[in-house]
Subunit: 223 residues, 6 copies
């Protein structure tokens, strides 16, 4: 039952780059408020903003063997995404695996478990979004699978889906929808820019969005 899927479609590089620049919150809104991974996944250092194609890993609790298998499948621009088969916060990933991943062109790791060697990963500039930081070691005894669909942070992730991650967390965009979502994100950024100027000038959202009649209709009273 344990497989490594070698081939899957990836989104175009310029689309992925555009999604990285748009950022998590904008991309999430642009695709209809779907795709946010759980807020328990946090960056281990601040300021990274990346996007890449998902290389997915389903791994047993406390066993990081499949990370070695997955790294061989990484192409430049990919992001590793790991979900344990039962909740586990052990430290699956550290500076040696990061060295190997970076040598393959990997842009980061999203993991619904723990990582370690935080200081080294930060110095290397390798971004990680994880549920925990833990030095607790793992074993290499039990198989998992690579590039099968997984659930990570409460979202379904397929190999090749675009992962966008920044200080707000992580969002997933289906591979086939990436270009469309990017268009919507760009439109949204333009609209937001205009609104920002008006709000900075002191105009109220109540007026810009014409909310007052609807608030009154719903029954809001000022006293």
């Amino acid at each position: 039952m344990n497989v490594v899927i070698r081939d899957f479609p990836r989104a175009q590089a310029d689309v992925i780059e555009g999604l990285a620049q748009a950022g998590v919150a904008t991309v999430h809104e642009a695709q209809g408020r779907i795709g946010c991974l759980a807020s328990s996944l946090r960056p281990i250092w601040s300021g990274a903003q990346v996007a890449g194609s998902a290389v997915t890993i389903s791994a047993p609790p406390g066993d990081n063997w499949m990370l070695h298998v997955a790294i061989e499948q990484v192409q430049p621009g990919d992001i590793l995404v790991l979900a344990p088969t039962s909740p586990c916060d052990a430290g699956y990933f550290g500076d040696l695996l990061a060295t190997s991943a970076m040598a393959r062109g990997c842009r980061g790791l999203v993991i619904d478990a723990g990582v370690r060697d935080i200081r080294d990963l930060t110095a290397m500039g390798f971004p990680v979004w994880s549920r925990a930081v833990s030095a607790q070691g793992t074993v290499k005894e039990t198989l998992g699978s690579v590039n099968v669909p997984i659930i990570c942070g409460g979202q379904a992730i397929h190999a090749g889906d675009v992962i966008v991650a920044d200080d707000d967390g992580v969002v997933v965009v289906r591979q086939a929808e990436a270009a469309t979502v990017l268009e919507a994100a760009k439109l949204r950024l333009d609209v937001e820019e205009a609104k920002r100027a008006r709000l900075a000038a002191g105009e109220l959202g109540l007026d810009i969005y014409d909310m007052r009649p609807r608030l009154a209709a719903k029954g809001l009273r000022y006293v």
Copy 2:
């Protein structure tokens, strides 16, 4: 049942400023060890130390409509305080709302839920204490109330109460007691300064506070 209360008393500006300078831990002690909000409310960036008059918001889960309403009620020096009516970690607040709030003179946000656009909020210098960071969007469909009493982080907050927040978290001071608490805080700071010098010189708390007889009376044995 949904109301916006426009008028409420605020503490004097110099009292609020004094409380900001005293900081959360000192103010909490000075008022008799009450008023700390839950430790689950953490700053999104380090180093802010502010105080302001609470503009309170009671909002449904996943609905940030009342934030727009509340911002109109903000006066310079106020702090927004939001509690959802049932636990929710969605991202109620981001850089557009922060732009609007700053244009009104708002000093920060305390929210028992999620926020997003962390990088922008940090760059803008807008301080937030929240229970979560989440890009998950919210709707504008259901009314809440503004400036009614709320429970946020396990503490009752009334409009006009003084909110003090720093890297230690958040404490609330009743509006009518703010001046008295400030006096007590100043006394405490003076006393602490004297103690700090003695402790730094190597004196022990056991001796400074004359704890040895009471420890012996309680039965502590040295072996």
Copy 3:
């Protein structure tokens, strides 16, 4: 039943220093993947990497009296380790206690509870690993014990055990095993250095560790 134990063996200073340099993850692996404290214990500021002999404190919930007692027992190079007798996140420790502890040569605090005065502790360079940050004050009414065995972060800690702590968390090494563990850690660091170079050059862990035959034997299929 409440005692302060004055005398206990400590590891040699150069061994402790060596363990500090090896860091938490390496030490944890070197002693056979044991000794990691729970990942809920996090540093209040990033970048500290220390080791020291444990001075242990068993304290009631919300009562920090024993910290004053323990500081008298601190010798230069020690680390305070506190566990409450029932779960509690109140702020047991702040800048005054840190001033006193530093005056005694204390290298840090590991506490399965809360601390406060985060900004001051950071400015002083006093490292703390804690479960929470909370300004909530504590009392001085009930005895505990000092230098008895405690459970902190899910690990048994005895006075004199070596505590190693960095951004990955905290690990405990038995006092009698410290020198042996250090030897193993040094060996491990040398091996890792060699592997790092090969991985950085693009070699795969699959090949370096000769994993392919065992993966095939377990039944992993590539599709």
Copy 4:
């Protein structure tokens, strides 16, 4: 600062009895969807459905002294409500205190902390809603207060407020509003009874509540 307030208004006995019969969910709805305590407060045994006037207790973590003080203030029909001043799950209450409380006519306990002697409390028929079950003992060293306003389970509770509790959890009704809320609850029960018959007969809520036009207007599509 530590006080015991002896006198406070209670709601009428028949109103309290009526609210008990209506139950938590109905009372919560009848007063406009407010007043539910956090879902972390669960009954220690199933099937109790009670209401009573709150005798409130603010107690330090791990210290149950004030329970003894509070029991003297109990009048027949009251319910004890305890909140610790910082989060604590120790076992504040067991069969001896329950024996004493029952001798005073106490109808139950709501506690945002732990209880013990579960088997005895169940055999005695004394209902408790708590955050934890824990045999961990407490001390009697530090004062708290009785019948001051507290926050329990995320709701403000004043002495004399009506507490309603059943298998759904706990709701608080302000003392002055108890009669009005009871009227609304009775109306609601009548309306629900009629709806229940129609739903049991196979009619759909979509039709009974005439939801179809509004769903269509919002844009719901059937495919």
Copy 5:
């Protein structure tokens, strides 16, 4: 973007019935140790053991409107499965909705949020697996979708997938694999029955499964 999908394939009734009889743990093992929903989903009463075709609901936090829409789509033998779009523990479902669901032949509810009217649901024999019990009410303001793929309890659920639930929790079986999984489950039950008799007679798993050589080869020492 909000849709109700009316048609989807269901598994055969006798297959579903067979899976119900096999139970959650056996079905989970029979399909290769996949499909378990998170252990945070617990039955509100003990002893139910059911299976049915999933009617899925994606709902906003604190908004139960789509439950009314979904009930119209229920066919006899179906199970409702609801996931909120952001974490929420409000009480989405109670005795009125259960009355309506039962009138349509619904066999139960799996919900990654809260329910209420526990006593009534138990008396009606309507089984629910939920993350929380909460009387907190919900609104009917924002659309969601019915019978789209959702993530509930950390597992992807599609309309028509077979849900099996008992006191161990909940497991999902893909609709197309249900018959195959049932065959595997039956085989497993037969094997387990034989093992049970041997174990009850005092034989050891070490011998029945011939574990001793492999334990020795791995290096286990008896001292």
Copy 6:
């Protein structure tokens, strides 16, 4: 490093029986308020009250191999106690292992992880205290150790320590102290019996324990 320790001292059978009858809360108090395991360990069914000698198991996350090894070491009257080496809630134990354990005279299981087959375990009358119920399966790939000291539920447990467990949770008594603790527990039960009668008659704890002067000295005011 992985060992099975065959021999260790056990407490006398009548002492263990006496501790079972005293129950968790009384034993915990009798030994000076120590030894309670974390309140997250709960019984899977109500009403069991047992004691036995600990057979300890240190197991990897998601790997239950060592349970088979440990059952061979069980003598009649023993209780299995398992702690995973990193947090894990998978279902390590079910009805087959329980059948085997019961055939060896095992009195129960305490596990800081998950169990499954709840209905069968309940029907068999095999008591379990666990952190989770989960059908998620485990593997048999990695060694652990049996009868080494472990930390379970935040307490150190050695092979042969007496485990007492009931509806209040679990407490551990050191093997060498079991007889002394039993004497103290019996005394305590006698004293409690006398107090219970007085409290049931309406006397107050304030008077029975002569608390009034000390409350007044501490400054409690009645208003």
